[in-house]
């Protein structure tokens, strides 16, 4: 055994490659990686944004029947601002107008914890009938075949065609809490008939609409005329 072999055995961590070679490789690869990622990011960015815009627009027109155009606003207790306003704080809402420019309804986002993860939905609210006009699940991780049905089950979606969201007398909240009831027990227009086998997911939907409605419906009522005139 030669002396260099022995030295390596005694100190196996002794580098055999100069540090410069390692730095050069890692640095070079990292630069190449950065270049490639940025290139693809730049190239796909407008396409992805367009995809997202189309997806949101499709969802809005689905939850607000009769809608043909939309305008984004930011709504909070501080007031209603067009979405383009810099530093506007609050929730983004989508006012939807029909072909004649009449306000048909407002689409809002809501979220609550479901069976596995947060469920995010977009739902439509019509100030004219003070009711929810439709929902669309944007993101969920519910069990396929059970909780998953909240997005597709026709009987469940029927709940949200005219779900009562009337304001109370002093217009500070809802007259009746929107609640989920056991499957087949719906007796009031503000109740949501749960899917049997998917109670937690159904309750989550009712809860998120109720929370969002208690907060947002009075604000929408307050700023209704601004939205009506806000169309482009």
């Amino acid at each position: 055994m030669s002396s260099t072999d022995q030295a390596q055995l005694q100190n196996p961590l002794q580098p055999q490659t100069p540090s410069f070679a390692m730095l050069r490789t890692l640095g070079g690869i990292a630069m190449l990686a950065g270049f490639l990622v940025v290139m693809v990011f730049q190239w796909t960015k407008p396409i992805i944004e367009e995809n997202k815009r189309i997806a949101i627009e499709k969802a809005i027109f689905k939850v607000v029947p009769g809608a043909a155009s939309r305008k984004n606003f930011v709504l909070s207790a501080a007031g209603l601002f067009p979405a383009e306003t810099p530093d506007a704080q609050g929730e983004t809402i989508y006012a939807a107008y029909d072909a004649n420019g009449e306000l048909q309804g407002v689409a809002l986002e809501a979220a609550a914890t479901g069976y596995q993860d947060v469920i995010r939905i977009l739902y439509g609210y019509s100030p004219a009938c003070q009711c929810v006009t439709g929902i669309k699940v944007l993101k969920m991780a519910e069990t396929p075949g059970l909780g998953y049905k909240i997005a597709f089950d026709p009987a469940f979606l029927e709940n949200f065609v005219a779900l009562d969201g009337k304001l109370n007398n002093d217009k500070s909240g809802l007259e009746n809490n929107i609640v989920a009831v056991k499957h087949g027990n719906k007796s009031q227009p503000w109740q949501v008939d749960s899917i049997s086998g998917a109670t937690i997911s159904s309750k989550a939907i009712a809860r998120m609409i109720n929370d969002s409605g208690q907060r947002m419906f009075p604000l929408i009522a307050k700023h209704l005329s601004e939205m009506q005139g806000g169309r482009e």
Binding site: P15, T17, A21, M22, T25, L26, I29, A30, L32, A33, L36, V37, V40, F41, T44, I47, I48, N51, K52, A55, K139, A141, T143, P144, G145, L146
Partner: protein
């Protein structure tokens, strides 16, 4: 026939076909099972995941093979991971550009291709030792083998779990879907059934082989 380490392989049909059959990453080597079980609840997801993995596999094998003499062995794993992560990030953006629905269906498993041991395994065991041509052909073979394996699971699970294939209704409306097939346990059931089938075929071939030899001698 596997290749001995440090031996340059001539490109033959076998370079490609090994990944499909003898060294199939899923059914023979049982590698990368996490995405195999997780995203194969529909045929479309299986195809998308298979193609995404194949792209990353081929691209990273090419780059690793090209740079094989410039990468010091102390930093080789770190280098492979950076290379793989780069291509995975690119695939992530590309799938978002192609279809947001598909992207949402695949969830976190696109990003998790980084940790797919099929890819790192190929880089370490093959691409880092072979010329570019052989590395690319072999990576394509492995990618095709992986995609076929995903398809084997995806079609069966979608058919039994939803009565459809690629969204087209196959069974009549009276068919009651076996929801368990779409759930995680279904992945294990179907993978187990396929492994059973391949093992049976292998054993039957082995049983026949000595008999055939005995007949000719």
């Amino acid at each position: 026939m596997s290749v001995l380490p440090n031996q340059q392989e001539q490109i033959t049909a076998d370079t490609f076909l090994r990944g499909l059959w003898q060294e199939n990453p899923v059914f023979v080597m049982l590698l990368g099972l996490c995405p195999v079980l997780a995203v194969t609840n529909s045929t479309m997801n299986a195809i998308a995941m298979g193609l995404a993995t194949t792209f990353v596999l081929v691209a990273s094998s090419t780059l690793v093979s090209l740079l094989r003499k410039a990468i010091p062995k102390q930093v080789r794993i770190a280098t492979y991971i950076i290379i793989i992560a780069t291509f995975v990030t690119m695939v992530d953006y590309l799938i978002q550009a192609i279809s947001l629905d598909l992207y949402n269906a695949l969830g976190a498993f696109i990003q998790l291709i980084v940790a797919n041991c099929v890819i790192l395994g190929r880089a370490e065991a093959y691409a880092s030792k072979q010329k570019v041509g052989a590395a690319v052909v072999n990576a394509f073979g492995m990618g095709a083998g992986f995609t076929i394996a995903l398809l084997c699971l995806g079609t069966v699970r979608e058919l039994l779990g939803a009565g459809t294939i690629l969204g087209f209704q196959i069974f009549s409306a009276n068919f009651e879907p076996w929801v368990v097939m779409i759930l995680p346990p279904g992945g294990f059931f179907v993978l187990g059934a396929w492994l059973l089938l391949f093992e049976y075929l292998k054993q039957r071939k082995e049983r026949k082989l000595p008999n055939a030899e005995g007949a000719t001698s």
